[in-house]
Structures are given as C-alpha cells and as structure tokens.
Symmetry: C2
DNA sequence: CGCAGAATTGATACATCTCAAGCTGGGTGG
DNA sequence: CCACCCAGCTTGAGATGTATCAATTCTGCG
C-alpha cells in the first residue's frame, strides 16, 4: 500500500526548520539547487510513510509533526529505534531500501528530496554533507543515551527519561528560556511509549500514574503533561543533574 | 591517571586497516597529509583510554585489539554503548570531551590524529569526511539493531545475538568465506558481555551454559567459541535468517 | 447516545536479579 | 615443582520487577 501523500509547496526562505535541518548550512545558491529537487508530502496520523524493506526513492526532512522509526521481529515484538521530530532527517543517501518502518504518529509534513539528485549534491556541495554528518553524529549520541535507558534503567526511570527527552526537545524547538517548570503535549500513545522504552503498555500506564500520584508530573487530559519541577523529574530519570552537555 | 601509551610507527600503505578505516578512500596525496598528523599509541588490556568527561586532544582509528565505549550512572550501573573493533573510529571532530569511557579490553594499538589538523582536513579533503559519514551511518544502524536487542529480546536471545555480531565481524575482518560453521575468540569477559546486553553477569553465565548444554555452541576453554551451525544460532537470536542486508 | 480506541487497574506468572557459596585455571613465589 | 592465590566464572535458592491475561473505565466523535 503506497501512502497517499498530498502535495503542497513552500519557499525555503520562510521554512520553519530552515536553521536546524540538513539544509541549515546552505547558502542561497545551494538552497536554489535544493528547491529544484524537493517536494512536500503530508501524511495523516497512523499512516506508514515507508515500510521496512521497501524501496525508498527519496530522502527528506520532517517539517512538522512526529514520526517514528521502528523494527519489528517476526513474532510481532516491536522496538522503536528513532523518534523523528521537526527538522530530523529521514533516509540514508546511498541506500536503496529502508531497514525500518517509518510511521507518522501525528499528521506530518515532509520535505522530500529526490534521492538521485540529492546524492549528487552530497558530492558537490560540502555544506549538505557536513550538516548531515553533524546530524548523524548527534543521532548516534542520542541512540547511545537511549541504549543506557533500555539496558539499565527501571521502568520508572525509563518513563521519567522519556518525558525529559521529549520536554527538552520540545522546549528547544520553541526556543523557550529554560525554566524549572515545563509543559508539553505527549505526541505518543501509551503503546508507542512502551515501544520506545522496551516496556509493555500496562507498565507504562502504571508508572505514569505513579509519577502523577506522587506529584512529579501533572496530567491535563491523557496527553498534556505539566512538569512543575524539572530537576525532580531528572532525578527520577536517574540522570546527572547537569545534563552532561559537552560540545 | 593518564594512560601510558607507547609510541610506535608504521607506514599507511601496509596498514592492516587501510581499506576499512576512516582513511579508506584517501588517495596517496591525502594519506601523506594524514601521515604527518598521525601517531600510534598502545594500551594494555584493562587500561582506560579516555575517561568520560575528559578532554580528548585526538581522534583516531583502532588498529588492533578490542575496546569498549561505555556509560556509567551515578550508582554504578554500567551500559556499554559501543564495541570498538579494528578499523573503528574513536572520537568526534568538533567536540572537546568524550561523553563515554573508552576502555581497552585487550591490548590495543590506536592510530591517533591530532584533533585540530584533523578537523582542518575534514574541511579540505572530502574523502575523509565522506568516509566518516558512511562509517557513522553504519554505526547508527548498528546502534539501532542493538536497541532492539536491549529493549525486546530475552536473555537467551541477547546472548545469541551478541555471539552472532562478534562472529560476523570477526569473519568479515579475516575475509573468511561465509560457511555454516564459525569459530572465534570472545574478546569480552562475562561482565563485559553483561554490560553490552543489559544483563547481570550471572544471567550471562547461565545462558551461555544453556546454549552450550544444548549444543548451539561449543566452548573450548572459557573464551573460545565454536558455532557448529550458524543458522541455528541466528534462530536462537530471533533474527530473520537473511540477515537483513540492504545496501 | 453509543461505539471504538485508548487508558487504567487488578491478579497472577515468570524471567531476571540478588545474594551467597563454590569452582577453575593460569600465574607466582617459596 | 608444588601450593597457593585470585580474577573470572559457575551454580543455587530466594526475592522482585515486569509481563501477561483479564476486566473495567475513560474519552472523543460520528
């Protein structure tokens, strides 16, 4: 089943992810080249953007919404291996198919580049390749942090860690000053959270309830989270308080 | 405590990792540039190459031996997040410190590049940057595979998966024809295996014993592994039989 | 209103951890 | 050359955290 993405258009110069995506370092000249090979596609919440093993004839950036990368074993066990937020890159230059399912968890818009010409640009315009390397290294760091979560943290710490990660990325995206408190919408169902954390959805539900009961978080509806004290949450996540930022 | 690496020298042209490391794509000209900024260091089994948080004034390639990247929580829980085999790259251009401990698990030799000049080369010689991007993308894929192992596999599947990974990389390195059987040395202690897999060393020991008892593997001593039937082992690992190779 | 997907809650099962005791093999010093 | 030592490993018994199975209860929406 092919996803039925709709086509829309937009100018790179007032693109909301202009300064964070793979095109972040591009000059006017290079942006013009990108404009020629790009097209937009939208997907609805729940739609599969690419199936694991399928041919992918594009790479691209997530412009808005949230998507996930996940792997499924033959017996159905699923592990999320990537959480794609606006500005994140999808696909790998030089590779034919996707080893993962890419699924929209909210309505999303993607800025796609035709693969062949994009790969050609990788050779000729260093700014694209440089930025992609930088982003890939960041993703690798995030994956390694995630591995610590999966391998060594308790269910409660896992939930707290996930809330920290989403909250941090959300406030970075909106360029909020960092304050002690924090509020954001959870873009994931309990099941998706479970797939992120290597838990069952029941365990996720129980631990979220526990954090709520103890006042670490406040729920407004099922999905809107309010964190009155971010340090408290980070303590629950088992992280060092400094956040370990080394540039 | 600074590691007391000894200095040795070698010519790039008969370097054992010449065709797989970050320098793989370099021409003679570029290799000469690299030769100027490189130096070798050796570390003994058990030595810490870099401490988490410490300044790193080099990046480099692992020439021989095995090293690990790991993260430790305040209470001592440890998760390995990288297993470094010959030709793997250590360090991140543009970053001052290491967020991970780098530890030699066997005697190792590293080919180090002074960071500043290496970063300069990244800008000027596209072949280095291209190869590094390729290697980083491969590592990201490996990390994602590993996340599935950590999040969703049983202890027995974890052990089988680890044996597959080490066996596969070992035979790739020695360019063996792929046969049904396989033999290799485990470069990791039971504890290191536990840190890799998010288990305790006791559980590792029990599962290794179980696989041995059932004839999936044959142990010669504690560390030498013989896999009579690789397909059988991959079945135990819960992987698809094809190995999921998508280039 | 009433349905369906999402989430919560409860009771029980089970895999892995924890704590504890012993084993093994290679190196060392007497 | 042997006895000892010790890190690495194995094995056992019991504790515990999370999964599993099974009901309800929310919540948004046609």
């Amino acid at each position: 089943m092919q996803p039925s993405g709709e086509t829309i258009t937009q100018d790179c110069f007032d693109c909301p992810i202009r300064h964070r995506a793979v095109c972040a370092r591009c000059e006017t000249e290079e942006l013009n080249l990108l404009e020629e090979i790009k097209y937009y596609r939208s997907f609805e919440a729940g739609q599969t953007v690419v199936w694991s093993g399928d041919k992918m004839d594009f790479v691209g950036s997530l412009v808005s919404g949230v998507a996930t990368l996940s792997q499924t074993m033959e017996d159905g066990r699923t592990q999320m291996v990537g959480l794609l937020l606006p500005s994140d890159f999808v696909g790998r230059p030089g590779r034919i198919g996707s080893p993962y399912d890419v699924i929209a968890t909210t309505d999303i818009v993607m800025c796609c580049f035709r693969k062949k010409p994009f790969e050609a640009m990788m050779q000729t315009t260093p700014h694209v390749a440089q930025r992609l390397l930088e982003m890939t290294l960041d993703e690798l760091d995030a994956a390694r942090e995630w591995m610590l979560v999966l391998g060594r943290k308790t269910a409660r710490e896992k939930i707290a860690s996930l809330l920290c990660i989403i909250g941090r990325r959300d406030s970075a995206l909106r360029m909020n000053a960092r304050s002690r408190s924090l509020a954001f919408d959870l873009p994931l169902t309990r099941e998706a959270m479970a797939d992120y954390l290597g838990l069952t959805l029941e365990t996720v539900s129980r631990q979220v309830s526990a954090l709520k009961r103890e006042g670490v978080i406040v729920l407004q509806g099922k999905r809107h989270i309010l964190v009155p004290d971010l340090d408290r949450l980070m303590e629950e996540a088992g992280d060092d308080s400094d956040g370990g930022l080394l540039v």
